[in-house]
Symmetry: C2
Subunit: 382 residues, 2 copies
């Protein structure tokens, strides 16, 4: 077996704070800014991997919390790792499991040692320490692993935000140490915490940079704060991070969130919005969001977007998509999720091209104007 190439990241263009780059992993190249579809339980909900790939996705996210509970990290390792298990031979990033333990598991208890929780599947007590979070991610074989961190819902007291940020830093150090046994080519990202407090964010970023991670995530956002608070924190945090490492804004967001964060120097995103909203009948398009369940689509023979790269957006009429949702046909959710994944990838590919051409601000304005123009036309149906 050949040695895996080292994980590496290089910038290819900048335009203000916005930047394009390339992440090289053992499973291939990722162009940044990148949007990662979420394969929660080793599958993007309702969408075949082939369609995820065809949409333009170069990297997928897997959820450690779900996978460690079912089917189990050791089982996936025995079956050849997550890439082989789900047959996604392209790059995979896994989260640490911490965020979902703290938001989904009953009886979750956080201590210096780690997090203890009851599995929501069978009620068994499970411990997730920084060391176990790394072990699980190494078993899964992800290209990019995340440190275990504690994420605080906003608004929160400064003292509470600071405590969680400092605990996350101590866990970062333990994760870094545990990751020393990782095979070549694997990357570990630290996660900046600190809520909406700029000073705490700066302190967190500084301490993580001293530990030297392969990349840095901005965690603990999109947890209740406004978009403007979020983007202010993103802007300040991004400038506190080294230019030569990728920056990943976790769990964000809407198309507008992505454009705002790219403008502030973010390189990577993941979010369930395209698939979750797709399952519920909301399409993201060049023309802004379209709720296909609205009655006025019932007789509309036009496709969602005749110029989309997505076959489903071009080929099926709004009337047909509307019918599928009204009839509870699962194909409706599949088609709209696919349409949304394509739109996110088109949006971000457009951003990459615009940054490379030094006209990102124009791209953002033109994109938002098109959303707005059609939003006004379509407003009666909302």
């Amino acid at each position: 077996m050949n040695a895996a190439p080292p994980f590496c990241f290089g910038l290819t263009a900048t335009d203000g704070a916005a930047r394009t780059g390339e992440i090289l992993t053992a499973h291939g190249l990722v162009h940044t800014p990148a949007f990662m579809p979420v394969g929660t339980q080793a599958a993007v909900k309702g969408v075949h991997h082939d369609d995820v790939r065809a949409s333009g996705a170069e990297i997928m996210l897997g959820n450690t919390y779900h996978l460690m509970l079912r089917p189990g990290a050791e089982r996936i390792a025995a079956l050849g790792g997550l890439h082989a298990f789900m047959r996604w031979p392209h790059p995979i990033l896994t989260d640490s499991g911490g965020f979902q333990v703290m938001s989904l598991a009953p009886l979750c208890k956080i201590s210096e040692e780690g997090v203890a929780f009851r599995s929501h599947l069978d009620g068994a007590m499970v411990e997730l320490t920084p060391e176990r979070a790394i072990e699980v991610q190494l078993l899964l074989g992800s290209d990019i692993a995340m440190q275990l961190d504690e994420c605080v819902k906003l608004p929160a007291e400064r003292g509470e935000i600071e405590r969680a940020m400092k605990l996350s830093l101590r866990w970062a150090e333990r994760c870094k140490r545990a990751f020393e046994s990782a095979p070549a080519g694997r990357a570990l990202f630290g996660i900046v915490q600190g809520g909406d407090d700029q000073a705490l964010r700066a302190e967190s970023a500084r301490a993580l940079v001293d530990l030297e991670f392969d990349g840095y995530a901005i965690g603990g956002l999109a947890v209740g704060e406004t978009q403007s608070v979020m983007l202010d924190v993103v802007a300040a945090t991004a400038t506190a991070l080294p230019a030569e490492r990728p920056r990943y804004l976790m769990g964000v967001g809407t198309p507008a969130d992505l454009l705002g964060a790219i403008a502030r120097g973010v390189d990577m995103f993941d979010c369930v919005l395209p698939t979750r909203n797709g399952r519920h009948g909301l399409a993201f398009t060049r023309f802004g969001p379209i709720n296909i369940k609205n009655a006025h689509h019932a007789d509309d023979a036009r496709p969602l977007d005749a110029e989309s790269r997505c076959p489903a957006a071009r080929d099926f009429s709004r009337a047909y998509l509307h019918h599928l949702f009204r009839s509870n046909e699962a194909l409706g959710g599949t088609l709209l999720s696919t349409i949304n994944l394509y739109y996110y990838q088109e949006l971000i590919a457009g951003a990459r091209a615009a940054i490379a051409a030094d006209r990102f601000a124009d791209y953002v304005s033109a994109t938002k104007e098109e959303w707005q123009a059609h939003r006004d036309q379509d407003v009666e149906g909302r």
Copy 2:
């Protein structure tokens, strides 16, 4: 616009009572014996049309009952007909709606005039007469329309079976008359009724043949009787039908049912089993049925069938498919439904090839032996 070619059917080979043929419709050719996936509400449940087509399906069935209630036959006509609405440019057969009115609708009342029922969607009273059943199917634009008939659950009294059969004959005549206005190239099939009574079946077949339909269906089977009773009725009915017209066994069945009916001269089938069972975790394969939810698949890295034409059957491990079902990921149902549709098409393509080579009996034996051999090996998991 060019004139549509006339509907026509020609036999291409026979082997005993089994036969191969070709149905030419305005939307393309169908090789028989043919299996028609069921697109109940203008979609095959959980499976994209592209995958239905790729499985080898040349014709799809649409359910008049569902489509007339939602989105409505007039609406579909205004949107260009069912082919355009669902973007299935290949042949479509529609049922008359009668079977589902009688099995699904609350407060269904059958009279000489037709069937009156409450819509299960909004409680509105709806009338389905022979004339309206034809009108709806002409609005949908189906290539092959079915007469309205009354189907009796078995076992039933002879008097009741006879009454329904004779009513169905009178409706057949009214459908035939209503269909005289149909555009060129459209076909109308009569439906033989008569339950499990051979004399009534013969009488029904004779009367329908006198009316001269484009093809003949055998209805009212797979409604509670044993497979052997069903196949006896099929055999007797098929011989009472003209060799030069297609014969369609409605709503049947398992892979073994298909082979048994082909041996007795049936040309066309439809059934929800491949998709319904697929959604519930049962795969139809060369190796017999496999319940992928069984625990012993959890660590099985083998695909369902490495030699299948179906990518999902070749590419994904049993362990992964098992995981999708255990995790309630909709992709599991989609993949297994697709795998089953491919298997049905492979089975029936194998039957066509065997009939053409005059070795259909050998094909049936070999197929059943392979089911049985593996069934024994897999039995502990059942």
